[in-house]
Symmetry: C2
Subunit: 111 residues, 2 copies
């Protein structure tokens, strides 16, 4: 009456969860919005805007970059970050199909 467990989660679910995890901190959401609103790429400006220590912001930026959501280039002693547009185009599609399938029932709900 039980057994037959899937050994591990699908790659798709893992990838989706990984991206969601990156978006799961208000600071990182805020950073993305700041970068999107800025007409030029910024760096230490984010530290001035957010109520976080420089090292903490740097850590968040690193996570965003590792996830491929932002791009970064070194410009002298400063670091310049910006939104990775292409990445978000793909992500938009991924989340779109997820939400579409979740909000569309293929049967009547019981609750």
């Amino acid at each position: 009456m039980a057994s037959a467990k899937t050994e591990i989660f699908t790659q798709e679910d893992q990838d989706l969860a990984a991206i969601a995890k990156v978006l799961s901190h208000p600071a990182r959401v805020a950073i993305l919005k700041i970068l999107a609103a800025q007409n030029a790429c910024i760096c230490g400006e984010i530290v001035d805007i957010l109520p976080l220590a420089q090292s903490t912001v740097s850590q968040h930026l690193k996570e965003l970059k590792n996830a491929g959501l932002i791009k970064g280039t070194i410009d002298g002693p400063k670091s310049c970050y910006c939104i990775n547009r292409e990445a978000f185009e793909k992500l938009h599609g991924v989340f779109d199909s997820l939400f579409t399938s979740l909000k569309t029932d293929n049967a009547t709900n019981c609750c």
Copy 2:
């Protein structure tokens, strides 16, 4: 050359991060997909499908329910869960506008 920090993150960013956090575990993504695919609401079936203990699945279900992503009703000794369609309709819109604004530059990128 600094100061003027925002004391706290915006409610919008906090809400978005909170939802992302719920989606940030593959088990919860998997549960949502299982519920969406099921024509009838299920309960302990999820435990049989996922490689997790009953108590762990119950914990994940609780989080999904607390976030309003699923609905649950007690049906005898069994518990019956299903996708909260309305919630995902709203969420779809929220994430849609986020991704739209993030993938649309209002200026040329520097990196």
